[in-house]
Symmetry: C5
Subunit: 357 residues, 5 copies
Amino acid sequence: MPRHRKTRSRKIGLPAGTLMHIGEVKTPRTALTLFRYDAEQLAEQSADTLAGLDTGLPQTGVLWMNIHGLHDTAMMAEIGRAFKLHPLVLEDILHTDQRPKLDSYPDYLFLVTRFFSYDPDTMVISSEQVSIVLGHNFVLTFQERPTGSFDPIRERLRSNRGMLRTAGSDHLAYALLDVIVDRYFIVLEQVGDDCDVLEEELLRKPGTAMLQGIHKLKREIMELRRAVWPLREVINSLIRNDHQFFQHDTVLYLRDVYDHTVHFIESLEAIRDLLAGMLDIYLSSISNRVNMEVRALTVVAMLFMPATLIAGIFGMNFKIMPWLADPNGFWFALGLMAGIASVMGLIFWRRQWLSRR
Amino acid sequence: MPRHRKTRSRKIGLPAGTLMHIGEVKTPRTALTLFRYDAEQLAEQSADTLAGLDTGLPQTGVLWMNIHGLHDTAMMAEIGRAFKLHPLVLEDILHTDQRPKLDSYPDYLFLVTRFFSYDPDTMVISSEQVSIVLGHNFVLTFQERPTGSFDPIRERLRSNRGMLRTAGSDHLAYALLDVIVDRYFIVLEQVGDDCDVLEEELLRKPGTAMLQGIHKLKREIMELRRAVWPLREVINSLIRNDHQFFQHDTVLYLRDVYDHTVHFIESLEAIRDLLAGMLDIYLSSISNRVNMEVRALTVVAMLFMPATLIAGIFGMNFKIMPWLADPNGFWFALGLMAGIASVMGLIFWRRQWLSRR
Amino acid sequence: MPRHRKTRSRKIGLPAGTLMHIGEVKTPRTALTLFRYDAEQLAEQSADTLAGLDTGLPQTGVLWMNIHGLHDTAMMAEIGRAFKLHPLVLEDILHTDQRPKLDSYPDYLFLVTRFFSYDPDTMVISSEQVSIVLGHNFVLTFQERPTGSFDPIRERLRSNRGMLRTAGSDHLAYALLDVIVDRYFIVLEQVGDDCDVLEEELLRKPGTAMLQGIHKLKREIMELRRAVWPLREVINSLIRNDHQFFQHDTVLYLRDVYDHTVHFIESLEAIRDLLAGMLDIYLSSISNRVNMEVRALTVVAMLFMPATLIAGIFGMNFKIMPWLADPNGFWFALGLMAGIASVMGLIFWRRQWLSRR
Amino acid sequence: MPRHRKTRSRKIGLPAGTLMHIGEVKTPRTALTLFRYDAEQLAEQSADTLAGLDTGLPQTGVLWMNIHGLHDTAMMAEIGRAFKLHPLVLEDILHTDQRPKLDSYPDYLFLVTRFFSYDPDTMVISSEQVSIVLGHNFVLTFQERPTGSFDPIRERLRSNRGMLRTAGSDHLAYALLDVIVDRYFIVLEQVGDDCDVLEEELLRKPGTAMLQGIHKLKREIMELRRAVWPLREVINSLIRNDHQFFQHDTVLYLRDVYDHTVHFIESLEAIRDLLAGMLDIYLSSISNRVNMEVRALTVVAMLFMPATLIAGIFGMNFKIMPWLADPNGFWFALGLMAGIASVMGLIFWRRQWLSRR
Amino acid sequence: MPRHRKTRSRKIGLPAGTLMHIGEVKTPRTALTLFRYDAEQLAEQSADTLAGLDTGLPQTGVLWMNIHGLHDTAMMAEIGRAFKLHPLVLEDILHTDQRPKLDSYPDYLFLVTRFFSYDPDTMVISSEQVSIVLGHNFVLTFQERPTGSFDPIRERLRSNRGMLRTAGSDHLAYALLDVIVDRYFIVLEQVGDDCDVLEEELLRKPGTAMLQGIHKLKREIMELRRAVWPLREVINSLIRNDHQFFQHDTVLYLRDVYDHTVHFIESLEAIRDLLAGMLDIYLSSISNRVNMEVRALTVVAMLFMPATLIAGIFGMNFKIMPWLADPNGFWFALGLMAGIASVMGLIFWRRQWLSRR
């Protein structure tokens, strides 16, 4: 992720666990939403500061707190103390250029994942970090800015659809991962569309702009790959479930998310192969065009050279030359020129040298 | 599978297990066929709805139900209830863009495979999903549309040829897989034929259309690969037989199917290498043609330039010039032109510049 | 093996184990040779049919039966019954497009290997399947046609040279594998020679025919690779000797064969790399030639253009022009042309534009 | 590391463990700094020779000795005796062209790592070896020259910030590794910047100098890779902690350093892919330029050839030719030339042949 | 190793263990040197035949016999009997085209390695086989010809430097391997130097000879790789020490040799990458040159065409044409030609078309 490489070096030599927000500030204010639910009831709270929320861990049921906006390091430290998070976890949450990973701690799992969005105008994929902390009875989610991506899950919690309310915190974590992975397919569709448009245009009329388009798409796809390959590993290690945070039934669902990431990766690779093929076509079409233009030059030369020679011949100053005195000599000469050009044109036409192939 | 990437995003945020048919509806009506058999007897039933069929699991022998057409989600849910299928299994059956996979559940194995067919006119490979559920005494097969591919197996069941009737449900599952993998070879033959035609044409007379042909075939072969590599893994894990759904003797037969998939993959790779080699030949033949046309231009220029110069020389207006007054001067000049052109032509001919190499 | 892909599909839907000879019939008649030997004695029999042979397994010593010609499915079935071969083994023997593999059965090991021969005229490698069944006291070998490749082993058995007669059936199997792998080196030498010839020719005078030669050799080498890589795996798994068909001492010898296959594979890869390098040289020599011919055109143009311009200048119809009236004006003009051309020629010569580089 | 390959051969045949400094002498004098600390106190010593320092291993707390300048082999041998280092360890410290590695000995771990610095003017990455010996209560660091990179750690030790003073020698080793890996990101930023500059320049105006720039950057990145890949393995094997030199809590921090190396490697690979893409763009832009210049030639030829032919036609010496006697004939002819050139120019303009694409 | 492939086929069908020297005879006579040593004493013997030497295995200390020249199969068989070597070991010693390998036998280890030497004039790497047999109290080394490479070890034995005399046969084997691997670095330096020379020359003035140079170096490096990769595996498996022929302390030293082979391999890969980069530069410089020459042609055409047209125009035979009667008309015309050419030259110069880029 070349774009992020600038931010790392600011922290050199500081002790690990020093809280410092690394990355762009994407939202001006921090927002916290807290859900407490079990099969029977659901309580919902929103606040700007941690003080306004009851963060005691529930006896039964699940607590889910979502945090938008990460630049307020003081509040992050407070959250860390409230949920007993390791300093390295807080540090990773704040460094928003992490690659997806899974760290296990005795009381919770810490997952880093990424949301992607694609701007079709600039053909640029931007991404932001979503950190998930999964405890036995709580889930914390940290996002750089509000995206509304988790709204369907909130809706399902409120309306008690599906098994989300009855299942534990692990099922909530699964549902969040599912939403994150599903969002990737939206980006994939858009990139794929752009790729198809480019391909069509390329087969129709290749130009230098296309090369840069291909180059750009390739770059974006590499960035997607770099985010999804480790995510696949993360989910795979969740399925192996060495940490015992997932119930057997939820693992079946995780397997489904895993299948989606594999599917996604394969589609990405397909697009990558497609782009490589497009590059081949582009390069060959450039060669082809050189070819066509050399041929055009050849044809022009071949059509004009005999005529020019004939004109030169009749322009010689010999005393005695045929046709010169003939009243129609001029027209004979022109006719000879036209005739030779026509015969040549016919030959070229039959050899398909005049067609654009 | 870029073509399928459009359909995924419709489901974002819905709880897992929500039944929704994803994919093209390929047949207007749903058809169910049910076989009950053991070594002694065979019962056969067909219906449009589940109601008309006796789906009770048999005490002895095997029940095989085949379903054509998957868009009727209500009926699919009914089938799910009748055979106690997990919601995720039903979901995967209905999402017809799955990659081949094997999921094990306590009471059954769930396999996703794909049928391929190749349209030689458009050089497009289309595929459809075939899902197989293998229980201890039943087999369910789900297809997107009737293809008649399983008819030979039905025939063998009816005629009691081979060991199909005496063996258990695992042998039926093997027989179905065998048919599926064997069908791949038909597609392979057709793709291979097209590839050979393209190669021959390429060596005879390369053109830009061929580049697109190569590009297209490469794409199709990539799609086949994406389907067969995971299938190989599926069959391999069936052979390892951790799930104990296969008897020892059937595993020997599965090994045979495994060999076929490996054979198929190698043939695919061979075609892929061939296509890569064809691309090299294509690109080099383009270069060659530029070469040949530059040479043609050179030859033309070399033949005409001296003649044009001679004409120019005798067109100069010097008072005293040789040959001008000579009655045959004009013919001398023409002869000189022709002579030089002939000598040059001879040199070119001996250097094989006039041959097409 | 693209050439074989045509034959597979004929069997679709037939029950596994259905005997059908797939592949070309390479010999019109079937021939069986049977050796019975131990340290003391050797008995040798030949026949056209199984009936004429005593196929009872020996109490002591080893029985080796070799079969040439596989199209007589009835006899093959008979052999299968005589030695209690699994239907799948017979099927694999008859399908002569198998890749090398090792299948273990309780009473015997089943090996599929391939013989290769190279026709230097057509630069085509043809191969045929050699199947070996190794029991505790018998060895069966199945070949598509008589090749005489096993004659040295027969000779060693008859003359009781080496340890072949005293060792068991495993040592015979080793000796057969050794002969098969050694034969690969003959093909390798021939392919390598062709490759060297091609390389020399390429460096001397590259032409389009060479591209097709490289393409063809690459194809053949890919076919060899596809046969030898799995053979390496087969021998490796024989060395691991999980099946206990080999005595400890024979395993030492197998390790030797294994080394040979690895050596063979490395030589193949070396030739492959060589061919890739040759393709680079070929493509670059094409570019070079375009270069040289563009330069020739440039040189011609540069030599003639000034002369033509001078002729044009003195052909203008101005009333007053220098030299026109001078008796030597014409020769001055010609001298000027020759002079400019000479100076240019000198410049080109010093810039080494006239050399062929 | 091609630059180092010259120094190896000087040692051939000498017994292993012979101390000889291999590599450039980067600082004229040797400097030793020694820290002794525990949670309560910190003692700091500096000297030019070992004699002036108390190198007794502490009962409680940690001893950290840093050595700058490695050419004084006598002193190195003395240090080896003082800390009971194996001769091979000393040898590896003195051979400053080692790749990163981890060797375990009963009483200590021996790590070789590298510092990198990038000179943006010459686009050359230089590196130097940092060897770390980690015992249960001591840490030795060996550097080729003073760089000040470990100063922040010294500062943290003095100011007792973070947990460095209270944790053991393993945490100090972690902190050193963390600083080393963090420094890599500075080099990465600089290389990445140069790469971006090159890319921008390339898209604006490609030239041959760029090819050499790409070639150079690629070389430097390969050198970085060669150093970081084994470092990743080193840290990974520290995390596995088979040698029990790290406490459980420090392993969590090492995991963080590991993540950084992985992040670094991915960024490197991204830059590598970028450079490969840039090479493609460069090569295609060269092709494009040939194309454009051939076209320019074609256009010029096409504009001038008809005019030259017309001039030739009216220069013929026929007695009777149209327009010759016409007072405006000359202008008619010029007009005809201009007209044809204009029509052609219009055609070219509409076909966008005059634009620079 | 394509050069060796000719010799293999001579042995087809012979029983394994048949002694036959395969490879070039590189020295006319066989020479044996025998060292017997322990910590206290050293005895040294030289002879042409085995008869003159005392080959009884020592009670204490180590026996080291070195054999130069392998073509005397009778003597080799004698040595085999004296030290109870397996026939396959003797066979492998005599077949001097082996790849490096390690075979373990109950009483000894058998190692095959290779010496390399590089002839800078022909840019050819030649290699010869060095076989080592390591027993508990003896070491045998077999070389194709005397090279003097083991002299430093003999010197160390005589002078009792280092720990060689006190350590066992395993340490001697280590010392021999160390010398062999160290020698590789000499070859690497020479190849690297040639590569640098080639690169410099390439950047200065690319020519077709360079392509062949790159091709040749690539071939040589492939050959080195093929020898060193398996050697790395050999040493790695010695370090794992499953065969218990090495003492714990010697394994530490072997680890050092292992590091050197890894270092060597990485340097080789670096040179390989460099050569690949040089090929890119070469190919692009060829393209560039085409480009430059097309441009030269364009410039020439553009400078001459207008002048030629002007000459043609004033050569027309119109009765009334401007300037014709003007005494300075001729000079006006020439001035016009020169003027247009100058303006064009200026335009080309400003577009940097006249520079060589």
